[in-house]
Amino acid sequence: MYGDDEVLKNSAKKLVSNGVKIAEVYSPFPIHGIDPIIGVKGTRLGIMAFLYGLTGLTLATIGMHYFMVREWKMNVGGKPNFTYAENMLAFIPVSFEFTVLCAAHGMAITYLLLNRTLPGMPAQNPDPRTTDDKFVMEIRLQDQSISESELDELLKNTGFEELEKKVIK
């Protein structure tokens, strides 16, 4: 457990350069620049948002085409809508809104599901202080190629505040 984000970052750099694999980092706010150090890949949620938006746009277009052109040709001043293209301008606002609606909600729901953060889920952080001002680095011994004593040696001068060893069955 560390008391400062910079200290944790420097320590992570040192450990990784010595071949230690860091399983997880828990922090009260995003630590910028930690992801490449501990090997967290960039998320692809942005692509998902684009796909959801595209779905929304398609649905809106199909829907309005059906309602306004095929099923019931709205007749304004004796000029019914025979094609979608002729009336396209009037459909832009709803197409836009529906695209945004689907992209935003689709992405938000995917995000919550991926994180397994849903109403009623138990707290997943290892220590309650990690949402306040403490930063936890989780290192699993079975992931490492080095022994426990070697790891202790490496950790010694990284400036941590607390070290907790747990046996996970």
Binding site: P30, I31, H32, F67, T117, G120
Partner: protein, 462 residues
């Protein structure tokens, strides 16, 4: 770590640590509410309930209880709607547009500004719903197949665009707000001692962990939502303005409306944020996070958008004459010199003259003056909508049909009632929710905090 120029004023005053930030924001939630909170809450609740009662009476009797007549078919109801939607523009602008521009000062105010936005849009939504008269068939605005034949809602109508715009805006703002709230609810959850509070905040925080991967996703989701919400902010009030601009009523049929409405909305929204935050920072002792610099930034936005609005008013006036259309010219002449001259000139004074005072550094850094102007601006913006709506229709093409609008007491009660309800929601928010985006403020503590700016280490590198 991003560092910024030392000559920039620090955004967080005092020598705060990460833990201090948590303490300062969580304290008001964990402590007993001050007596003033109960007094304000009771007042707001009574006014709100009076409004709800009036709405019930209106629904039971019909919208004939409003002061409308056959010439003036739209008056207070739509005025209030546009006023509230306009106020609801600041929050998402602050959190989305300013996020894209990487403005760090937004972090202290975005949470409460967004809460304000959501509650304001709730209040706005009330008006078109009750205007339907038969609230229980409100779902007819959705494109649902129905048992009356092959009849669909009209996708050519700006009123339907408005349905989509407002509901998208409301729900996307809500999601954006909540995604940011989850990590902060987790902070309160992990500090809570009372079992009920612990349980409640545990449910609200969705089991947030703070893993590096989750933060990585969190930041991307915030960024993409901001990207989506930015055009949304501009589209919503543009579409609201289409309700008028696509009609053929002189005074409404104007191409200048969309940008002018959006600027006006941001103008009134920031004014409402000022009104609320100036009180909140004092009551909740958040002076270190929301201080003169933040107020000054917001006043600059008010000044700029106020100038756009002023330019739009004058352009409109000029074009009405220059167009050579006598109906158009009369509509504007009548606004300025007709029986509603007082509304027009209140609007001009509040919206054109008052924001210009912000050019003076002393005035825009004065909290008392800002509070005063923020209220003046919102009075002015209410008059703007009233002037646009009522003065354009009260004298139509046949002088025999000319009329005046006198609000009934129900008109007034519903309006005042929504203000009461708005404050009920806002006070509940201030009592139970983290009013500052904890996780965001902590990220700027080192780059923009006072203690880090003053440290010798900081100056060594710059």
């Amino acid at each position: 770590m991003q560092k910024e120029a030392a000559i920039r004023e620090p955004l967080i005053l005092g020598h705060k640590t990460y833990h201090d930030v948590t303490e300062d924001v969580c304290k008001p939630i964990e402590d007993k509410a001050p007596r003033m909170w109960y007094i304000l809450f009771t007042i707001a609740l009574i006014i709100g309930l009076y409004g709800v009662g009036s709405i019930c009476y209106l629904l039971g009797t019909g919208i004939g209880v409003w002061g409308l007549n056959k010439t003036i078919g739209w008056a207070w109801d739509i005025t209030n709607f546009v006023w509230w939607v306009g106020i609801g523009h600041a929050g998402t602008l602050i959190s989305a547009v300013l996020l894209l521009f990487r403005q760090k000062w937004r972090m202290a105010i975005n949470r409460s500004a967004e809460a304000m936005t959501i509650f304001a849009v709730f209040m706005a939504g009330t008006f078109p719903l009750i205007h339907m008269g038969r609230l229980w068939v409100g779902y007819w605005v959705l494109p649902l197949p129905n048992h009356f034949g092959s009849l669909w809602v009209n996708f050519n109508s700006p009123l339907l665009w408005d349905v989509f715009a407002i509901s998208t805006y409301l729900s996307v703002s809500l999601v954006f707000w909540y995604i940011g709230l989850i990590p902060d609810f987790a902070t309160i959850r992990d500090r809570a001692k009372k079992p009920v509070a612990k349980r409640m905040y545990s449910i609200l925080s969705f089991g947030w962990s703070g893993r590096a991967k989750h933060w990585n996703r969190f930041e991307l989701v915030s960024l993409v939502l901001a990207g989506l919400a930015t055009p949304l902010v501009f589209s919503v009030h543009s579409i609201v303005s289409f309700d008028f601009a696509t009609s053929v009523i002189p005074g409404w049929h104007t191409t200048i409306f969309p940008p002018y409405f959006v600027a006006g909305a941001v103008f009134s929204g920031f004014a409402m944020v000022q009104t609320l935050l100036l009180v909140m920072r004092k009551a909740m002792k958040l002076e270190a996070y929301i201080h003169t610099k933040h107020v000054e930034y917001m006043n600059v936005v008010i000044m700029v958008t106020g100038s756009i609005v002023g330019t739009a008013y004058i352009t409109e006036l000029f074009i009405s004459w220059y167009s050579g259309v006598e109906y158009e010219a009369y509509a504007f002449l009548n606004r300025a010199t007709g029986p509603y001259w007082w509304a027009y000139w209140s609007m001009m004074t509040c919206n054109v003259i008052s924001p210009q005072l912000m050019w003076f550094r002393k005035l825009r850094r004065s909290l008392l003056f800002t509070f005063f102007i923020s209220i003046i601006v919102n009075i002015g913006m209410w008059f703007e909508r009233y002037v646009i709506i009522v003065t354009s229709i009260h004298r139509d093409y046949i002088p025999a049909a000319w009329s005046m609008h006198y609000p009934s007491h129900i008109d007034i009660a519903v309006y005042i009632g929504t203000i009461g309800l708005f404050f009920v929601f806002f006070l509940l928010f201030a009592r139970y929710f983290p009013v500052l985006a904890l996780n965001e403020v902590k990220t700027i503590l080192k780059g923009s905090g006072q203690s880090y700016k003053e440290s010798p280490d900081y100056h060594k590198h710059h």
